[in-house]
């Protein structure tokens, strides 16, 4: 859109950082938040202002997905920065943090620069996450100073855990020199052993190797202890078990600087979703029991879990249409995250403000990037949500290059309808 200013009229502006939740007008000028206009007081508007009617809609700080796999460089057949950020914009996200398990992995300036170059024309801000270990091999530290100066905002070997405890300890320590948060994929490989689904009734019924909850909790316990030893914060990725939630809760009660994220599928689905050997319900960590799902929800409510992040993991049909134990792990999630989070709001489990914290305020804070608020002067990254819009999540509507989602064909209520990045519209689904 060509207009240099944008007036979002009569929307419910929800801005928890500024303790704001009211129906007002929001004015953006030259890509920045300019003013919150309440009541009938009408400021003098710029000449070429685009006015948009936000009646009945929520206007929130641009959402940030801090756990996304964009597959560029090296696996562009299933996603790239362009398609992934288009999917992100359609999901209401103005920024994503992309994981380094690309081909080659992102453990150096060159790959970070390649990602950022592709991101220049993208539909969302892209914050690269660099590897914890060189080559993501789990043996040596990567060059954190180089990664940070190249533009990486965090470190992770996501896709696999750091098996060597001493390496993770040193990584936690050294990352402190560059203020890079460590995002830990907590998994005890000796217990998960290339399992296919959660260890429980479904693994018996389907005859699939199970991954016990302990594979996650043992690793979370270890990672928390290492972070305490290194006196550094740590962020636990994709929490899926009640046990991990309890450990993180206890660590926070003791004052340890820990943050944690979960993905929408962990608070929406259980391991029953793999019935019929549905590989679009296969991911790592796996979908767990109903008790775990409830514990995740409790964690979202009481603050144990700080972030909802999708772990958007595109895979092609030839990687999913295989024997279940051979199929790749992961599902796409950018375009369903807000919708699934809204289900918790509709059920009265979390408030709209809490949803904004989980999807914008906290990811911005943990990554140390701008975002999560609508304070005048900050970039105009804004997400508009229609909490009442009914729609079917069709394969045709998927903007990702991959379609591996267990939610295809389902009907939902509530979705993002307008995404604004630095004052420019990157997605619109307004009636």
């Amino acid at each position: 859109m060509g207009a240099r200013s944008l007036l979002l009229r009569n929307g419910r502006v929800i801005d928890p950082v500024n303790k704001f939740d009211s129906v007002v007008d929001l004015l953006c000028i030259d890509g920045l938040i300019a003013e919150i206009i309440s009541g009938k007081r009408r400021s003098k508007l710029p000449a070429d202002c685009l006015e948009m009617d936000m009646t009945g809609l929520w206007v929130v700080p641009g959402l940030i997905d801090m756990h996304v796999h964009l597959r560029e460089p090296g696996q562009e057949y299933k996603e790239d920065v362009a398609s992934g950020t288009r999917a992100a914009a359609a999901g209401g996200f103005t920024a994503v943090a992309c994981m380094p398990n690309t081909l080659p992995v992102n453990d150096c300036r060159a790959v970070t620069a390649q990602i950022l170059a592709a991101a220049a024309a993208a539909s969302a801000r892209v914050y690269p996450v660099g590897c914890i270990s060189r080559g993501c091999q789990g043996e040596e530290l990567a060059d954190y100073g180089e990664l940070q100066s190249a533009g990486a905002v965090a470190l992770s070997d996501d896709g696999q855990p750091v098996v060597n405890a001493q390496l993770l300890r040193r990584a936690l320590e050294y990352s402190g020199n560059f203020n890079l948060p460590i995002i830990s994929h907590a998994e005890e490989i000796a217990l998960s052993r290339s399992g296919a689904i959660n260890e429980g009734e479904m693994s018996i019924r389907l005859g699939l190797r199970g991954i016990p909850n302990a594979a996650e909790s043992v690793a979370v316990y270890r990672d928390l202890a290492l972070a305490a030893l290194a006196r550094r914060p740590i962020h636990i990725a994709h929490v899926s078990t009640g046990e991990a939630v309890s450990l993180i809760r206890r660590a926070k009660e003791l004052g340890q600087p820990v943050t944690a994220e979960t993905a929408p599928h962990y608070f929406t689905l259980t391991d029953r979703a793999v019935a019929g050997y549905n590989t679009n319900a296969k991911m790592n960590p796996p979908l767990r029991s109903e008790a775990d799902r409830q514990a995740i929800i409790d964690g979202l409510v009481d603050g144990t879990i700080d972030v909802i992040a999708t772990d958007h993991a595109p895979h092609s049909l030839q990687e999913k249409e295989l024997e279940f134990d051979q199929a790749a792990n992961g599902i796409i999630g950018l375009q369903t995250a807000v919708t699934l989070a809204l289900q918790l709001v509709h059920q009265g489990i979390i408030s709209p403000a809490r949803m904004v914290e989980l999807l914008s305020v906290n990811p911005a804070r943990i990554l140390g990037v701008e975002g999560g608020r609508l304070t005048p002067g900050v970039p105009a990254d804004v997400t508009v949500i229609d909490p009442a819009k009914s729609f079917v999540f069709t394969a045709e509507s998927v903007l990702s290059k991959s379609r591996n989602s267990p939610f295809l064909g389902m009907s939902f209520t509530g979705k993002p309808v307008l995404t604004i990045l630095q004052g420019k519209i990157t997605y619109s689904d307004l009636a």
């Binding site: 052993r193 260890e199 429980g200 009734e201 693994s203 018996i204 019924r205 389907l206 005859g207 699939l208 019929g276 050997y277 030839q318 249409e321 295989l322 024997e323 279940f324 134990d325 051979q326």
Partner: protein
Amino acid sequence: MTEDFSFKHKHIISLEDLSVDDINLILRTSESFKEISTRSIKKVPTLRGRTVINLFFEPSTRTRLSFEIAAKRMSADTFNISASTSSAVKGETLVDTARNLEAMNPDLIIIRHSSSGTPNLLAAHVKASVINAGDGTHEHPSQGLLDLFTVKEMKGEISGLKIAIIGDIAHSRVAHSDIIGFRKMGAEVAVSGPATMLPPSLECLGARVCSDPREAVSGADVVMALRIQKERFQDPLLPSLREYASFFGINRQLMALAKPDALVMHPGPINRGVEIDPGVADGRNSVILDQVTNGVAVRMALLYLLMGGD
């Protein structure tokens, strides 16, 4: 059950999918086919002109031969594909294999594979009927059915019997099908073995999990042994075959706790002296070879019910 009950399943993938009426029909049909194998000319024209493909990704003596003999005795044309000599070694995916087979219009594909769920994947891509000859650690429905047939033949009724299954229950597709089948038909099933092979969630299938094999075998009408595989020492699930044989093997002492006329069963192949004492395997309670004979009859019944209708 009503006189005009007909078999409406297109595939035989899991005993979970079959009703009690379905199983009774299969058992009755098996009985009528058993006689054919005792004739000097072991042939009936029932399935003449039908194309049956055995698609075996795992080695097999009994099951494959049993299906092939069953099909040929009913005059079907059978073709065997084994993974090691197929394009699977060139990296052809299961779905592509399925599409290529389907292009040659088979009537029935019998599949054995090391990954659970593969019969479902195959069935989604072919018009042919699919029989699961063993998928990973999920099920082996024709084995379960022939075990049911054997017990019914020897004992008259399955309902109310006490079945004991001893061995690597967690990883045995035969055990899973047996538990499901025997429970559906009203028998009690107790399972036992090393705790590493006996996850508590097994109870969801309806079996009583006993930490001591003596408890499972006590008063049993049927004692079933499962093969202990050498690959089970990884994980690690077992310290040695010797330990297994000493504490979990089916021997005379253990059999003394079962009913005097208890049946001794084993899906084969047996490891003599490991999961079963040779004397017990060859003894007068053993129906292990009857199971093999009945396997042909049961498989003829399955082929007939899936293909013989028109």
